[in-house]
């Protein structure tokens, strides 16, 4: 009885593991790694802009310090969006 169960388990395991090797290749989700890295950087930059604003509104940054940092971060974010477009455009 046990041996029969073992054979069943082996069969199921073999099918599960070998499946992708025998069927047609599927396009995998997600873009090339460069796009992924840029998306992650963009998300991080956006979060940083929001947090800097929160720092200003809760009194940790003076207004002029905030405006300076905010402007710089926004331009860095715009650069990232530009690069993202280019990377995605390349992928076509």
């Amino acid at each position: 009885m046990d041996f029969l169960l073992v054979l069943v388990v082996l069969a199921v395991v073999a099918v599960v593991v070998a499946w992708p090797l025998y069927r047609a290749a599927r396009p995998s989700p997600g873009g090339p790694p460069e796009v992924e890295a840029l998306e992650a950087a963009k998300d991080s930059k956006l979060r940083e802009i929001r947090e800097t604003e929160l720092d200003y509104r809760t009194g940790k940054l003076s207004e002029e310090d905030w405006r300076a940092q905010d402007a710089r971060l926004r331009s860095e974010a715009a650069d990232l969006l530009r690069e993202l477009d280019r990377a995605k455009g390349k992928e076509g």
């Binding site: 979060r47 809760t58 940790k60």
Partner: protein
């Protein structure tokens, strides 16, 4: 069923080897199908190990004594809950639990990443590492510590669970700890994968961040549960002894805390890449080291699990992990160069760096003290050990600095803070931090510098957290006009990581205040009392009223057949405060004579505890059983073939006799302040971690062509 179980483990080992090989081949030959096959091998490994795990647990629940482990660790008289959890009180079962958890988390992370198509270059190598670790533990499980060993002639009864483990928290403690250890292997594996594949931007950290946080959470929970068990169930009244096994779980937790902070810096500024990857690799190595320490017996510890056959393979694994990590970091050092530099010492980055240095310093202190017997033996030839006073001398100042930093960090801005703003922001918390110790001194609390410092610094940190919530909600109200409760909720919901972190800081401050108070200002008395006598502890009068005993009346569900105890009346200045009922439960030792077996086996303390917000009253009893032992030995001689009923009757009569004419018993009474704050602080930390872990809501993204500045604004509004 045992055959199926063993076969499943062997199949799992095969899957682990295949998974590693297929993933690496698929990554190098750029054949996606093989990578996917390797990933599926991990899913299959989880399924197969789950089957084996279920078979083992079922055998315990059924009390199937054809399984050797069930005979050694369970019995028909063990209650259901403990039968089910006794599986991991054994070496074999605990290894299986480790593999089960490892394969579960591995499957989870790989599934989530595959669905979104993330980390496609890193994931195959991470899969190989996870398969390698799983394979190692499976190898141990199959060849060195087999849980499915069967007996040809199953006995009718098992040895039963060790009575010291018959507490619910003691059965949850291993799964919590193992979850922590195994969860740390996920960021470890992805760190290795990032190094091997060369993809060293922050995306591997971002994707495994939740696993690192969950690992930190479970490990911390396991440590806290262990401390709580030690305090409320063992007879010594303390919660931390700097024992090697306790330290083994603390070290990866400290490094994990450091990593959680420095990871934020890498995500924002691209700095500290070498540091981060080293921390993550160190956490993984320390997690496996911790698993090894508990079961190797190389260090003298209260948890001496005996030298075992697992020692050498584990040392090999740890050496491979450590040397391999160092080698990979050196190989990739060019790609790990920082993108930016530290702008100013007045910045959150600088505070986080200091925090990291303190945490790593703490870890080094704990490491040195734990391994000192081996170090000194290697250097001087003599094994020498350091005790708690040595640990305390270094960890206390470092802990003070840590809590102080946790108060400054939230308040200081990234990159470069405005110093004038910082000073204004810190004014109230500093005032509170100075006022509290002065207040304590005025109220007559003793002159202990370190405790007073901790009270002040803890109060400082708590005030900072409160201020953050108030100002944050205020800022939100100014922007959106919400009512205060709604503003607070929205604030936390939109900034989960930050405010969850603040809650964790608050919890740690409360916890450390509790530790400082209870360890510095506790009063302890060991006294030998006869009924009617009183002893004094820290302003309380404790009177031994009368002895108690129970025979075969296990209403506390401890499994003890006989227990001897006492009723203690506690009063202060003549007013009754509380009544405590400490007792000691006796478990039979079947190798002894028919009557004396009831008193010669294990005995455990049932602590008499009155916990309170301001102070705990803790007491344990050690009855004097010399008279009972003498009479029991006589009874053994007179009735060598007594039936179980007669033996129990005689043993019970001896207990009743003890209660009628009780000899003096030894009591330990402890009055310690703010112990409950430790557990409360722990709960607050748990809440904060859950807030930080909680997944953010779905974010809809729509693209509209526009200038980049406007697009940034649009994306911000949507984020």
């Amino acid at each position: 069923m045992a055959i199926l179980g063993r076969a499943c483990l062997i199949i799992a080992l095969g899957l682990a080897l295949y998974g590693a090989g297929a993933s690496i081949y698929g990554a190098r030959a750029r054949k996606q199908a093989w990578v996917e096959s390797g990933r599926r091998a991990v899913y299959a490994m989880f399924g197969v190990v789950a089957i084996a795990f279920v078979i083992l647990i079922a055998a315990f629940i059924r009390s199937d004594f054809s399984f050797g482990v069930v005979v050694d660790h369970s019995s028909t008289t063990t209650p259901l809950f403990y039968r089910a959890t006794a599986a991991w009180s054994s070496q074999e079962g605990s290894l299986l639990l480790w593999v089960f958890l490892l394969s579960a988390w591995s499957s989870l992370i790989l599934f989530v990443l595959a669905r979104k198509g993330k980390l496609r270059e890193v994931a195959p190598y991470a899969t190989a590492v996870l398969c390698g670790l799983g394979g190692f533990f499976l190898f141990c499980s199959i060849f060195l510590a087999n849980p499915f060993g069967t007996l040809a002639n199953p006995p009718l009864e098992g040895a039963g669970l060790n009575p010291l483990l018959r507490y619910p928290s003691m059965m949850i403690h291993p799964p919590a700890l193992y979850s922590g250890y195994t969860l740390f292997t996920v960021p470890f594996a992805f760190g290795i994968g990032a190094l091997v594949s060369g993809r060293l931007d922050a995306s591997w950290i971002t994707s495994t961040r939740r696993f690192a946080l969950a690992a930190w959470f479970f490990l911390g929970l396991g440590i806290l549960l262990g401390a709580r068990w030690s305090y409320s169930e063992l007879g010594w009244g303390g919660y931390w002894a700097w024992d090697p096994v306790e330290n083994a779980s603390l070290m990866p937790w400290l490094v994990g805390t450091a990593f959680l902070h420095s990871a934020m810096i890498q995500e924002k500024r691209g700095m500290l890449k070498v540091w981060n990857v080293s921390l993550v690799l160190a956490a993984g190595v320390l997690a496996v080291l911790g698993t090894f320490l508990v079961r190797s017996g190389i260090l003298d510890s209260i948890h001496a699990f005996g030298a075992s056959t697992l020692g050498v393979p584990f040392i090999v694994l740890i050496a491979v992990m450590a040397l391999g990590s160092i080698g990979l970091v050196i190989w990739r050092r060019a790609s790990l160069r920082s993108e930016h530099r530290l702008d100013s010492l007045f910045s959150r980055e600088a505070i986080f760096l200091l925090n990291n240095l303190v945490l790593v310093g703490l870890c080094f202190v704990v490491f040195w003290g734990t391994f000192f017997p081996l170090i000194s033996e290697a250097i001087t030839g003599d094994k020498a050990a350091v005790g708690p006073p040595w640990f305390d001398r270094y960890t206390v100042p470092l802990a003070l600095i840590l809590v102080l930093l946790s108060g400054i960090g939230p308040v200081i801005a990234w990159r470069r803070a405005t110093v004038s703003k910082l000073a204004r922001y810190l004014a109230i918390p500093l005032a509170v931090g100075i006022a509290v110790p002065l207040l304590c001194l005025a109220l007559g609390v003793g002159h202990h510098l370190e405790a007073l410092l901790m009270f002040g610094i803890g109060a400082f940190s708590l005030t900072v957290v409160a201020q953050e919530f108030v100002r944050g909600a205020g800022a939100r109200r100014a922007m959106t006009g919400d009512a205060p409760p709604a503003a607070l909720l929205a604030l936390v919901r939109r900034n989960r990581r930050r405010y969850g972190g603040y809650v964790v800081h608050a919890g740690m401050a409360v916890l450390f205040i509790g530790v400082a108070a209870s360890s510095t200002f506790h009063n302890q008395r060991d006294a030998r009392l006869s009924p009617g006598q009183t002893t004094k502890v820290g302003g309380y009068d404790v009177r031994y009223v009368k002895p108690t005993f129970t025979v075969a009346d296990d209403h506390r569900n401890t499994g003890a057949i006989i227990s001897l105890g006492a009723v203690l009346d506690v009063s202060k200045n003549g007013k009754h405060v509380t009544t405590l009922n400490p007792s000691r439960g006796y478990y039979p030792d079947l190798s002894q004579g028919p009557v004396s077996r009831f008193y010669q086996g294990e005995s455990t303390s049932e602590v008499g505890l009155q916990a309170g917000l301001r102070r705990d009253l803790w007491t344990a009893i050690q009855p004097d059983t010399t008279q009972i032992d003498r009479l029991a030995a006589e009874a053994d001689r007179k009735f060598p073939n007594a039936t179980p009923q007669l033996s129990l009757f005689i043993a019970g009569t001896l207990a009743a006799g003890y209660a009628r004419k009780p000899p003096p018993a030894t009591f330990r009474v402890i009055d310690s302040p703010l112990v409950t704050w430790i557990w409360l602080g722990g709960l607050i930390v748990v809440a904060g971690a859950l807030i930080a872990l909680w997944p953010a809501g779905l974010r809809a993204r729509r693209r509209a062509p526009a200038g980049y500045g406007a697009r940034v604004a649009r994306e911000l509004g949507r984020a």
